[in-house]
Amino acid sequence: MNKRSILLGTVAAASLFAIGAGDAGAGALNDHTEHWKELWGHVLLDIGGIGVVFGLVASYFLVSYRRTRDDEVGKGPKFSFAQSMAWALIPAFVFMADDFYLAASGWKLWNDQRIVPEGAMEVKLTGRMWSWDFDYGNGKVTTNEEGLIVPQGKPVVMRMKSEDAVHSFFIPEYRIKEDLMPGRVTYLWFLPKDTGEYVFTCTEFCGTNHSNMWGKVKVIPAAEFDAWLNPPAPEVAAAPAEGEAMAEGAAPAAEAAAPAGH
């Protein structure tokens, strides 16, 4: 009995490992958000299966072993040593096989999530009670009110630090979060696949306005993003109606335009 159970467990573990390692995607751009959704589907099937088996067995027992006579007693099985070990080892190996399968697939996704692709755009994030600053590296900084502005289709890595309490930067759409730990720099990355606006928010309790520490990730086409990040030199931007261009533009033009603007 023992030998057979060990064999069974090993075979189960090996085959499940093979399944786990089998579906290596060869896509051009690693998108851990998609992989998260796939793995989540697998895990739901896995735990759903276990749940249905145990649930049906328990329900069947509860219904079919109701007491019918007052003097009735239970007739549960008495086990020999070998039987009781079998009832320990076989389930233990089945559970362990499933655990290792899940661990292997979880680890695979983990590598996708933690290994930042080369050429990812870097944004420095500073969190504090209760706001966020996004620093794009060339002097451009946005706050949570303006949002995190990123180009479509390019991986973005956030290098994050906190000025006070622990915060956590969470973008539900991309299935990713990581804490901002005072005294450390932490990171996360994601791939903004489609244009649009997606909520980011704080998920580590940080006091009064914890639930107001949110904003939008604004994914815009790459060309639009480049124009936003590196605006054309002010001389070239001839239109004087633009507020920002005016400030650094030629003084006479700004003076001329001022009454109309404000």
Binding site: W36, L39, W40, V43, I47, I50, G51, F54, G55, V57, F61, L62, Y65, R66, T68, E72, G74, K75, G76, P77, K78, F79, S84, W87, A88, P91, F95, M96, D98, D99, F100, L102, A103, W107, W110, Q113, D164, A165, V166, F170, P172, E173, I176, K177, E178, D179, M181, P182, G183, T186, L188, V199, T203, E204, F205, C206, G207, H210, S211, N212
Partner: protein, 522 residues
């Protein structure tokens, strides 16, 4: 009154634990109701954020530290263990009395923390540096409450380990213990080893906040992550301090009500209970998956956390197996136990994705986590306390509660908790974060939040019915038969209901072929 306050009788001490922990449950439950009502719609309805945060803090801290742990390891262990092992009392009755005093003082202190100008708002986790540098709340009240409850539990642990090791009735072997006794032993071993770590963590927090030390201040060379490690080094095993005795209660109830031996008793004891104790100490990092820990330890603890499924799986196989070919009588306690299969399955299985670091990068700190631990720890263990009260009610009072009212309250409670937490599982996966007073960024979750609140109202009603059943049963209930469930366990066969001082007129002598879960010879 005096004979209750100064009592050294383990049964009265047990009742004192029950009254205190149910009081804590009631207050913390009202907090939960307030929280749910606030969350019926986005924006602020009735409760401002600062008050809301205090309520969250109090709900978590009181439910775990002042209801679940004292309810299971205070009330049930105190009342039942000397009776189950055939002892006159615990090993150190006066220390036992001191334990319950500490517990009551801690409850008073916790309640006082709500009356002071700046009540703590630091969540039951008390994460630094918010709790030590930025919160205006009085973290000291929380720290001293933890100290007192910790001392109370350590004294209880020493007391009960000594009691079971040295005071078993003559002839009562280790393999003849009620399953509940084994689970309590496991729980107290965990308490004895790990409580000092929690006490150290909160003490250092106190020093940082009030005495200017810098254990957790990064600017001065301290480390924020240290606190989280110390805190969860205790607080994850604490989950098993709650879960193990809960499973013990269910196992004893099933064995008695199905008149059936525990399925694979020895494997459930050594593989299940002690497997959980052993492995449960090596999984705490799964609370820190998003905290910027080194990648290798996050992966390592993912594997150990998943492996917890083995001992827990063995325990569940024994729970289900004990029904097999049994003769099940459905008392109210058995209804709670049957429902707990559902709770343990849902709560346990939703723990599996949370064990996986990579899935948890999305799920951490969302309603999914919150619904998961409410199922497996909160509600399962609460049902165990309730099942325990109902099952041993005739023993404690000598009277019967109303069976139909008990089943009605249980049904409402079960419907209510499912209505609360299923919508929260769903919106949790969609990204609804925990500990939010407002969710204006997620207006689409309003319907789920609304239904969840309806569930909370149903649970509140069912709790009132249940407590009324207990009180009216204890006062006006009909006299209970000596052994209403036909149990073969010592507390039913060899003592009166309720047992007098000293429990046994004569300490029973145990023959080697007797077993508290053996019915086929009767």
């Amino acid at each position: 009154m005096k004979e209750w306050i100064f009592t050294t009788d383990h049964k009265r001490i047990g009742i004192l634990y029950l009254v205190g922990s149910i009081a804590a449950f009631a207050v913390a439950g009202l907090m939960a109701l307030g929280i749910r009502v606030e969350l019926m719609a986005p924006g602020t309805q009735f409760i401002e954020p600062d008050i809301y945060n205090v309520m969250l803090y109090f709900h978590g801290a009181a439910m775990i530290l002042a209801f679940l742990i004292p309810g299971l390891t205070g009330f049930l262990a105190n009342y039942l263990i000397p009776l189950m092992i055939g002892a006159h009392d615990v090993a150190f009755p006066r220390i036992n009395a001191f334990s319950v005093w500490l517990f009551w003082f801690a409850i008073v202190l916790a309640l006082l923390s709500l009356a002071i100008p700046n009540p703590p708002d630091i969540m039951w986790t008390g994460y630094v540096p918010y709790s030590s540098q930025y919160s205006s709340g009085n973290s000291s009240f929380y720290v001293f409450t933890v100290h007192m409850l910790g001392f109370s539990s350590i004294l209880g642990a020493v007391n009960f380990l000594c009691t079971v090791i040295f005071m078993r009735a003559p002839g009562l072997g280790w393999m003849q213990l009620n399953f509940f006794v084994w689970t309590i032993l496991g729980a107290f071993v965990i308490q004895l080893i790990f409580i000092p770590v929690l006490a150290a963590a909160v003490t250092l927090l106190l020093f940082d906040k009030y005495f200017g030390t810098a254990f957790f201040v990064p600017d001065k060379g301290g480390d924020v992550l240290l606190y989280q490690n110390l805190f969860w080094f205790y607080s994850h095993p604490a989950v098993y301090v709650i879960l193990l005795p809960a499973i013990g209660v269910f196992m004893d109830v099933i064995s008695t009500m199905a008149r059936n031996q525990v399925f694979n008793y020895k494997v459930a004891v050594f593989g299940g209970v002690w497997g959980v104790v052993l492995l449960g100490s090596d999984v705490w990092v799964h609370h820190l998956y998003t905290s910027g820990m080194a990648d290798w330890i996050r992966i390592g603890m993912m594997v150990t956390t998943l492996l917890i499924s083995i001992p827990v799986g063995l325990l569940i196989i024994s729970l289900v197996g004990t029904l097999y070919r049994g003769s099940i009588q459905f008392s109210t306690a058995m209804w709670y136990t049957a429902a707990s299969f559902w709770l343990i399955l849902i709560g346990g299985l939703t723990g599996i994705p949370l064990a996986m670091t990579s899935l948890t990068l999305h799920l951490a700190e969302t309603y999914f986590v919150m619904a998961h631990f409410h199922f497996i720890m909160g509600i399962t263990a609460t049902f165990a306390v309730f099942a325990g009260v109902y099952h041993w009610f005739p023993k404690m009072t000598g009277k019967m509660y109303n069976e139909s009212l008990g089943k009605l309250a249980m049904t409402l409670n079960f419907i209510g908790v499912n209505l609360i937490f299923w919508p929260l599982f769903v919106i949790g996966v969609e990204g609804m974060p925990r500990r939010y007073q407002d969710y204006q960024m997620f207006p689409q979750f309003e319907v789920s939040q609304w239904w969840s609140t309806i569930g909370a109202v149903i649970v509140a009603l069912s709790t009132i019915l249940m407590i009324w059943n207990w009180i009216s049963g204890a006062i006006w209930g009909p006299k209970a038969p000596a052994n209403p469930w036909g149990s073969v366990s010592l507390e039913w066969t060899h003592t009166q209901s309720p047992p007098g001082p000293g429990n046994f007129k004569e300490i029973p002598k145990i023959s080697p072929d007797w077993h508290p879960h053996e019915y086929s010879k009767a």
